[in-house]
Amino acid sequence: MTVLSGTGLTRLYGDPCGDCESLTGDDAGRNRCPACGTIVACADVSLDIERGEVLGVVGESGSGKSSLAELLALERGEGHSRGSVRFDGYEGNLLESDYDTRTRLRNDDLALVHQHIRDGLTLSFSGGGNVAEKPLAAGERSFEAVRERVRSLFEQLEVPVDRMDDPAETYSGGMQRRVQLARALVTDPAVVVLDEPTTGLDVSVQARVLDTFRRVQRERGVAAVVVSHDLGVVRLLADRTLVMRHGRVVERGLTDRILEDPHHAYTQQLINSTL
């Protein structure tokens, strides 16, 4: 049962001349329009995600994967965006929806975990405060209930509960990332978008954080979109994967199939390049 779908998702930065998309892409070998200089961050990407599924999106810098994540998460971005995003339970194209619909969706049902902690957490608030924000904004008025919910999420995401009231800026990178995850999950969203979830984490911490997310994701049946340049992340978390290059999807399929039987030349190159 489809919970989130995107059709013809496109984002351009600059002053499009009209030929940008035909002059860029996989065959052209670039994502910058030679005629007008516009960057075609992603073009004509379509996908859909069913309840409980995890979709991986891999690619290198400039592949368009982060732009795609932003479009799916309905982030206000710069540039020209096109295409449609549909969400189960909401009417119409959400890229064209008003601020209130978008806010409601992003508060209740669709959560984005930002690549950079600074964008996702208010570091001056406590870790618990960051997680409490969404239920409070949604109208929860019992202090004890909020506190209990925060505590429960800290436990699920294996953040020490005794640090709940410390400012988030005093947390380690791994803990901050877990708090971001807690914040994303606190309202039981249907979909979580993870943008480069291992950024800024020590290698020893990465696998643990990802594993925690995987466990919670499966237990709750939350759908997810995981964007990463790191194939290991996608291998661990995603059922299906898209491979992106120059703003286009060059290959898609079951994650293990992509990793062990890549067809597209670029995908093969990517798989072979893993340390």
């Binding site: 069913e50 594993d211 059922d239 079951l254 293990d256 199939r257 039987d261 067809h263 597209h264 093969q268």
Partner: protein
């Protein structure tokens, strides 16, 4: 009949070698009977692992069909989500080596897939512990992290993980290669005891004793082609 494999061919196009093609499987056909234990043998490079991966759809087939009768689908052409659904409920696969997730205990490695498909956590852990002890894994290691285990210990965890969900079709790729003879015997006993007539196994084994101990029939591959298909009684270490 549970599986009908018809003229299965798998070619790899290596762009890094300027598009050179490697043939993994060449027109393999076989019918797999419901509840049987089919061993797959052959020299290295004969396509044994490729066959299993095609059945599991880790490899996309180049041509041919794989009819999976209980769901009435052709695994070679059906959509990804059908494969995902079957993998979750009916078809299991295990490679030689344990796919490790750091700092998850041996018991949880085995129990987790069960929990994820709905079994209550305590029952799942109990089944996990039973399997691990049948395979002779020392008790103190149950709650330890497999990263620190020996190859043989890891394989026991791996095998337990494969057996735990009791899938309808179990694909085993050399699950005992690192086990000593004593443990191999335990594995044989466990597999025999644990797998009922409702489980079909297609397994790649290097060790011919295991083949003789477990298989009903043996499929012999060479150079990607089917060379022979015999009842195990007629199989006598044909391939070195």
């Amino acid at each position: 009949m549970i599986l009908t494999v018809d003229t299965l061919t798998k070619r790899f196009e290596m762009h890094v070698l300027d598009g050179a093609t490697v043939v993994g499987l060449d027109g393999v056909s076989v019918n797999v009977r419901d509840g049987e234990f089919l061993a797959v043998v052959g020299p290295s490079g004969s396509g044994k692992s490729s066959l299993l991966k095609c059945l599991y759809q880790t490899y996309e087939v180049s041509s041919g069909s794989i009819r999976y009768h209980p769901a009435d689908v052709d695994l070679a052409t059906c959509d990804d989500r059908t494969i995902m659904r079957l993998r979750g409920s009916e078809i299991g696969y295990t490679s030689q080596f344990l796919d490790e997730i750091p700092r998850v205990s041996a018991v949880d490695v085995v129990a987790r897939p069960l929990v994820e498909s709905g079994m209550p956590a305590e029952s799942a852990r109990e089944r996990a512990r039973d399997l691990l002890s049948e395979l002779g894994l020392p008790g103190p290691l149950f709650e330890a992290y497999p990263a620190t285990f020996s190859g043989g210990e890891r394989q026991r965890v791996n095998l337990a993980q494969a057996l735990a969900p009791r899938p309808r079709l179990l694909l085993l790729d050399e699950p005992t290669s690192a086990l000593d003879p004593e443990t191999r015997r335990l594995a044989v006993d466990l597999i025999r005891a644990d797998l009922g007539p409702e489980t079909t196994v297609v397994g790649v084994f290097h060790n011919h004793e295991m083949v003789e101990a477990l298989a009903d029939r043996v499929l012999v591959l060479g150079d990607g082609r089917r060379r022979d298909l015999l009842p195990v009684a007629e199989f006598e270490g044909v391939v070195a």
